[in-house]
């Protein structure tokens, strides 16, 4: 159990964001795609907005040879390309870049770690970072145990039981494991050298404002929570749709597929947040306890369910925004006979009191018509005694929590059309973060890196969450391995997925929302 530190007598809780421990952030895989696109812009924006500790340094760790200045120049280019705020603010960057360094080493080279330890000590002296470390593992999963072991061997990961004056934390990128067994194995290897309180398994969806707002929306508004159950909700749809294909990630996607890339992590996080019971407090432990309970309550899929509640798909050629795009099998670094899924639709039931009989439909895919991630709560129909029109029911109320883009919340209600007759028309009440608060919400990685430096693990996945999620997903993977698809590719790029997906939900008398 995590012991919370007593409050600092000079800090006012909830008001000061500057009272944050000094530290050095070390990024493993510093020349990789994720670092340039996400991590560095996030660190830059945190610094620019004054959210990093004044005593801070950042070290890039990678195998390629380069100087500190070369590394800084590359990062500047990345910020200018990928940051939500650009161009780089020169006056800020001039000083900030002085805190950024590069360290070349192989991941298995003891000398490299020895040199890193020595270099970090120098930085501690120069920037008064007090020995606090965040290690960000933006590398292939096979390197996770090795790096953690080496860090421990070279004294860079501290023993939580004996070290109280400084801390070390490790952020681990997804995927955490490949299936149930490998996730358990990875956890076993990592836990030899890393305490759970030092482990921050990142799922960047949890860093998104709208995902964080889910808890506020549910538990700070009494009108919704009182209806958040089987009595009022007909079903829930969770969609993670991307219009892009796999881009340059052919190798990665051939190994992973959509289930591992999106469903096992992002979608299951969204599912557990939307379905969880109110936590006893807002502590990381309490929230994560409730999320795990949801995952434990998901009804395991039977053999019959694999046929009727799971649909996989792979995109063929089609059109995105009017432009012809290649099918998955024609993408770079993809096997022309690949059976990897780029689309997945699932139906789950959560066997607990709150959700008895309420289906949760999940769908995710690449090369769908638009980029859209949302959770839609479809309420039960109003009793059909009144206001039927030609025997047709009115539309159900739908509450939509848009995760991205156009972050916000909308509620569909029925309304009388003005005039003497009384036709009823669905209308939408729409709240948009951008319109209301007038500022670009911070990127997920900004929030997550900041939370890690603060030592708050609420927005990171705990080991038992990951393991439980794999327990749900692994049987699907095993079934697929035993029954290769015969109809791939089975949906056109730019469409809403294979027709079997529509059939799956229509058998229940429902339909996917047209986004």
């Amino acid at each position: 159990m995590q012991i919370e530190n007593p409050p600092h007598p000079l800090e006012e809780a909830g008001r000061s964001s500057r009272n944050i421990d000094p530290c050095v952030l070390v990024i493993f895989g510093a020349t990789g795609d994720l670092t340039g696109r996400r991590l560095v812009p996030a660190i830059y924006n945190l610094g620019r907005e004054g959210l990093l500790p004044p005593n801070f340094a950042c070290v890039g760790f990678a195998r390629r040879e380069k100087t500190h200045q070369q590394f800084r120049d590359e990062l500047k280019t990345d910020i200018n390309t990928f940051s939500r705020v650009k161009p780089v603010e020169e006056s800020f960057w001039k000083n900030f870049q002085e805190h950024i360094f590069y360290h070349r080493s192989e991941f298995d080279d003891d000398e490299g770690y020895k040199a890193l330890a020595s270099f970090l000590s120098q930085l501690d002296s120069k920037y008064a970072t007090r020995g606090n470390r965040v290690f960000y593992l933006s590398v292939q999963p096979k390197y996770f145990p090795l790096i953690v072991e080496k860090l421990r061997q070279h004294g860079l990961i501290y023993d939580v039981d004996t070290t109280t004056d400084r801390w070390s934390r490790v952020i681990i990128e997804k995927p955490f494991g490949h299936d149930s067994d490998s996730a358990a194995e990875l956890q076993k290897d990592i836990s030899k050298n890393l305490d759970e309180t030092q482990t921050y398994r990142i799922d960047h969806y949890l860093g998104k404002e709208t995902v964080q707002n889910l808890l506020v929306f549910r538990f700070a508004n009494s009108i919704f929570e009182s209806m958040w159950n089987y009595k009022h909700i007909d079903h829930i749809q969770i969609t993670v749709a991307e219009d892009i294909g796999i881009g340059t990630r052919g190798h990665f996607f051939e190994e992973e597929g959509l289930l591992r890339d999106i469903v096992q992590n992002h979608m299951m996080q969204l599912l557990s947040l939307v379905a969880m019971e109110p936590p006893v407090s807002l502590s990381a432990g309490a929230i994560r306890d409730e999320k795990v309970k949801v995952l434990q309550s998901i009804r395991p899929l039977s053999k019959e369910d694999f046929e009727h509640s799971v649909v996989r798909g792979q995109y063929g050629t089609g059109f995105i925004n009017g432009e012809k795009v290649a099918g998955y099998r024609e993408e770079k670094d993809v096997n022309p006979r690949s059976n990897i899924e780029t689309y997945l639709a699932l139906r789950f039931f959560i066997d607990n009191w709150r959700w008895a009989g309420v289906p949760f439909y999940l769908r995710g895919g690449k090369r769908l018509p638009k980029r859209s991630t949302e959770i839609a709560i479809i309420f039960k129909d109003a009793p059909g005694v009144l206001f039927q029109q030609q025997g047709k029911k009115n539309d159900p109320n739908v509450l939509v929590i848009r995760i991205q883009p156009n972050e916000g919340i909308s509620l569909k209600i029925n309304c009388k059309v003005p005039g003497p007759s009384s036709p009823i028309q669905p209308v939408k009440m729409d709240f948009r973060y951008g319109s209301y608060f007038g500022q670009t919400p911070p990127e997920a990685y900004e929030r997550l890196i900041w939370e890690c430096i603060l030592g708050d693990s609420t927005l990171f996945a705990r080991a038992d969450e990951v393991v439980q999620s794999w327990k749900i997903m692994t049987p699907i993977l095993e079934h697929w391995a035993a029954h290769p698809p015969k109809d791939f590719p089975n949906y056109a790029a730019g469409s809403w997925g294979p027709k079997q997906s529509d059939e799956m939900i229509s058998k229940d008398g429902r339909a996917w929302r047209l986004l």
Partner: protein, 359 residues
């Protein structure tokens, strides 16, 4: 309200946002009640269709996705354009998005893919299919799958019989609501008939009808040339409601039903009245009653109703037909749910009434 901008399909949403950011200074509010997809083949009717879409916007703000297909363009093309359109007058604070998709040649197959990301979720989708549905078209199936309601205009039908068969087949195979502009245009007359025979005594007279004579306006315009359809609809409606059985039809639009009932459709020419609009309906019964309803030439929307028999002549009275200004029938059809049972029965009756392909 804003000038149409031709843009890349990938930039439709972002450019619309930019336009709206500019309009924020004018306190214009983005409004939308539903999605209206319009499919139209470029012709003399296109301006007319755009005009009736504007009438819809005047009444109900919606996101318009207007597809114009030009099968005769010498060079294939695919163009998308956006604009923001306000209701006529524009004094209200609202306006809505108007997305134009112009296409010719093989790029037609791309249109559903362009359109799909721009439908506003959770709001109803109506498809105004302005072409003849009995003619196969590659866009009809993909677009109709998106819509909860399809609005046809039988004015576009080459054959009314084929139109009726296609619409009935569509209705039996899908759950889509169907509406028809020509059916909506006859609504006022149907209301008039129902109100004329509203008492039990009058209702009894319906069984004795032995003559129906309908006149219509035969003045053509470039976008209206199938002028007898509304009259045929009205006759088929009466026939289906009163369970008449067709015996014989003739090219002169004279119809014989069982039990000695005779029907006729005749033309008149009223310059200022909408083409094909019903001008008068005359009913006679076997016991000598005559029910004559005719528009007043100086007040088009008002019908003068004269009921007489060999024994008495009642004082004439007037009935105001529903608002029949251009586009209003479309407005009404979009908002009303379900498919009219009377309409479907009327289409079935057309299978008999128009079996010789008169229209």
């Amino acid at each position: 309200m804003t000038i149409q901008q031709i843009i890349d399909p990938a930039k439709i949403e972002s450019e619309l946002i930019q336009i709206w950011e500019g309009l924020a200074k004018e306190n214009k509010m983005r409004a939308c009640l539903f999605n209206l997809i319009v499919f139209n083949i470029v012709s003399a009717r296109t301006d007319y269709i755009r005009n009736i879409v504007q009438k819809v916007i005047d009444k109900f703000p919606c996101r318009v996705l207007f597809i114009s297909f030009d099968p005769e363009a010498p060079v294939p093309y695919l163009k998308t354009a956006i604009s923001v359109v306000a209701p006529a007058g524009g004094e209200g604070g609202i306006a809505c998005d108007y997305i134009d998709i112009g296409v010719s040649g093989p790029d037609l197959q791309r249109v559903p893919f362009i359109l799909l990301p721009h439908l506003i979720p959770d709001l109803p989708i109506s498809l105004l299919w302005t072409e003849d549905p009995s003619q196969e078209h590659p866009l009809f199936v993909p677009l109709s799958k998106l819509a909860q309601r399809i609005i046809f205009d039988s004015e576009s039908a080459d054959s009314l019989l084929s139109f009726a068969k296609t619409v009935l087949a569509l209705k039996s195979q899908t759950n889509i609501d169907i509406a028809d502009l020509n059916w909506a245009r006859t609504e006022g007359w149907r209301d008039l008939m129902a109100s004329t025979f509203d008492s039990a005594e009058r209702c009894d007279q319906l069984k004795k009808i032995n003559l129906v004579k309908i006149t219509y306006n035969a003045v053509e315009t470039p976008f209206f040339c199938h002028l007898k359809i509304q009259s045929m609809y009205l006759l088929a409606w009466l026939s289906s409601r009163l369970k008449w059985t067709v015996k014989k039809t003739s090219k002169s639009f004279s119809f014989e039903f069982e039990n000695g009932i005779h029907g006729a459709i005749e033309k008149e020419e009223w310059e200022k009245l909408g083409p094909g609009t019903v001008i008068s309906v005359e009913l006679a019964t076997s016991d000598g009653h005559i029910y004559k309803s005719a528009r007043i030439p100086t007040q088009y929307h008002t019908v003068d109703i004269q009921i007489s028999s060999s024994l008495q002549c009642e004082l004439p009275y007037q009935f105001v037909l529903g608002q029949t200004a251009t586009g209003q029938s479309l407005v009404k059809e979009i908002i009303t749910k379900g498919t009219s049972h009377h309409y479907l029965e009327m289409l079935k009756e057309l299978n008999q009434l128009d079996r010789d392909r008169l229209c």
